[in-house]
Amino acid sequence: MTTVRQGSTRRPAAGRLRRRTVGLAEKLPAFVVAAVGWQIGARALDSPFLPPLSAIAERFVADWFTNSPGSAFFSEKFVDNALPTVGRLAAGWAVAAVVGVVLGFLIALLPRVGAATDPLVRLGMAVPPPALLPLAIVLFGLGSSMKVFLIAFGAMWPVLVNTIAGVRDIDPQIVASVRALRIDPVRAFFLVRLPAASPLIFAGLRTSLGTALILVVVAELYASSSGIGFVIVNAQRNFDVLGTWSGVLLLGLLGIVVNGLFLLVEHRVMRWHTESRRATQ
């Protein structure tokens, strides 16, 4: 009787917890050193523009959180600014993702379309995304639609390029299986081609998320009346140093949270891929 080989994820939970805490303990010193280094450096430099961490932290809490009764947890400033930023980011990135994947499939599966669009795709990929800001303004003015367009148009290229690669580089054995099994075109697309291309597509989505974040910041720093970027640049123009840093900190946290969420989703959806790769090693 053949034995069943368990997937390598089935480790006892206790061991995993222990390893996580040990891992955390190892990583902590670096943060402490960095924080202490900042404090010391700030006091030593005594520049008005490099405040100590404690002051920044204090201002951060005051800016973005509230303990007044009746409101949820975040301050009004947070709601008025963080939400628009997140909204633009989400909308722009979603459009970039959908357009990138759909176009990517079309380009990869239709040879003539692929050849015709090839120079355009290369050009699009070569344009540094922030350089599209003036273009977006010229097309849409200075409002929210400009920002969403900028993010969508700027962040779609990594998705597009990676989708094309993912569809083109599909394992020929998979294609042979689909033909031999006479799977209908619709199911072949959604249940075979799309999953087979998904590892590369996800890599493209990850890159494009980073680009989207950069673009929303750039747009808000340049031309906005709301948003975290606006808060930052407004504070900077008024020489409100602590306010500037407080905004930067929030933006940094946004980047970390957004990335973390994406990694969580990717880890779950792409589990079959990481495990399969591990199994063949």
């Binding site: 990583k27 670096a30 120079p119 355009l120 750039v218 640049v233 900077q236 140093v241």
Partner: protein, 254 residues
């Protein structure tokens, strides 16, 4: 599809876009303020490329990019090797790296402006910071990814730590370092451009910003095309260097 056919279709694609641009404006479908005619855009490209003012701005941008790239490359490679070679150091620092990496460096632009004003220093510093991360991360990965068997074999020759590093680890890590450098060159250019677009006084980004404010869509589009080409050329040059570096590395094996 034959190579000629691909090229032909490629030209058809580009031509189609230009024709659409031209028609959309001449039939008043879109205003000239938003989309220039293809002819206007191409004329703009020609004018920019021949204008000494623009070329001076381009030189400024490229020079800043190069400085940032070199500084980031040195710092990233050295630190990357140090961190990658020590397992303990890596484990202790990796959390901090993972935390700082996803933060868009552009977000630091306002504080950098507060600290350093809007001169060249500001651009170069921010770009160096941004370009540092890809080099660091790729170098660490390259050094750590070195075949443990090779290292063990080398240690078995009773080689000292430095020798092992020089003869085995560094050559094997070279391809990864090269990749990191290529990515960082693109990042440096992007950040320099961004700083120029948003605040700086000199450089290509500043020029394009000026045209946008002045409502000259043709030059805005033209500027973007030029910037894309510059990016491509930079990519090609760095890739050639990368290939040279990688080609050299395997010869040091064995």
């Amino acid at each position: 599809m034959t190579r000629q056919a691909r090229l032909a279709w490629g030209m058809v694609g580009v031509l189609a876009v230009l024709v659409v641009m031209q028609l959309a404006v001449s039939t008043d479908l879109v205003s000239e303020q938003s989309v220039p005619t293809a002819t206007a855009m191409l004329a703009g490209v020609g004018e920019l490329v021949l204008s000494s003012g623009f070329l001076a701005a381009l030189a400024d941008t490229l020079w800043s990019t190069v400085i940032a790239f070199v500084a980031a490359g040195l710092a990233g490679t050295v630190l990357g090797v140090v961190i990658g070679a020590s397992d303990r150091l890596y484990r202790s620092v990796s959390g901090l790296i993972d935390l700082l990496r996803p933060i868009p460096s552009v977000a630091l632009l306002p504080v950098v402006i507060l600290l350093f004003g809007i001169g060249v220093d500001m651009k170069v510093l921010l770009a160096t910071y941004a370009a540092f991360w890809p080099v660091l991360v790729n170098t660490i990965y390259g050094v750590r990814d070195v075949d443990r068997v090779m290292v063990a074999t080398a240690r078995g020759f009773a080689w000292g730590r430095m020798q092992v590093m020089r003869k085995v680890m560094l050559p094997a890590a070279l391809p990864f370092v090269a990749t990191g450098l290529r990515v960082s060159s693109a990042v440096a250019l992007v950040v320099v451009l961004t700083a120029e677009l948003l605040a700086a006084e000199n450089g290509v980004g500043t020029v394009i910003r000026a045209y946008q404010v002045a409502g000259r869509a043709d030059f805005v589009y033209a500027g973007i095309v030029v910037v894309a080409v510059v990016g491509l050329v930079l990519n090609v040059v760095v890739s050639m260097g990368e290939r040279r570096l990688v080609h050299w590395a395997p010869q040091h094996r064995g």
